[in-house]
Symmetry: C2
Subunit: 114 residues, 2 copies
Amino acid sequence: MKSTARATRDDRLDRVFGALSHRTRRAMLRRLERQPATVTELAAPFDMSLPAVSKHLRVLESAGLVRRDIDGRIHRCSLEPGPLREADKWLDHYRAFWSDSLDALADYVERGSQ
Amino acid sequence: MKSTARATRDDRLDRVFGALSHRTRRAMLRRLERQPATVTELAAPFDMSLPAVSKHLRVLESAGLVRRDIDGRIHRCSLEPGPLREADKWLDHYRAFWSDSLDALADYVERGSQ
């Protein structure tokens, strides 16, 4: 069972980090923070075709970062920030390195001033 | 100048998140936390060819996450955690959402118990 849970977590992290690896998709997430948007509204700031925008949206949806509510011809997209938390947790592990480096720098500066 | 700096930061984030979007590369970074390793040592836990491992390593190097020191035929790889900090900073923005959700949940529970 454990290996299945692990595969699922790895799958989710692969998809979330993959979704974040393109600036257009990061910009779309930032846009959706303010409020939900239609696909056309989301596409407006980008110099790309609607199919290209839809492709990026599908990557975000498959990572669970965007929810699409369909009302007739209107597709309304909302941010689902939950999966970012798992990515954040993976990175959390490395925060000690940055703190360690800052401590090492502080020690170095301190020794130099004595 | 600002737009150039922005493009560079976007490039770095594209590369770092892209590097993290494969479980093998995440596992390699975790392995290198303990200590530097040769390419053969890094490849050992994975059921893949040395060229496949080298390809993943090149992605990590191009994101600035791994440094390779070459001493004759020995390639020694070390972790360079710095670029993860920028990814962490990008995600930092969303922590308010999780805190807000927890606050909302706490409010809900509190109202329910009165």
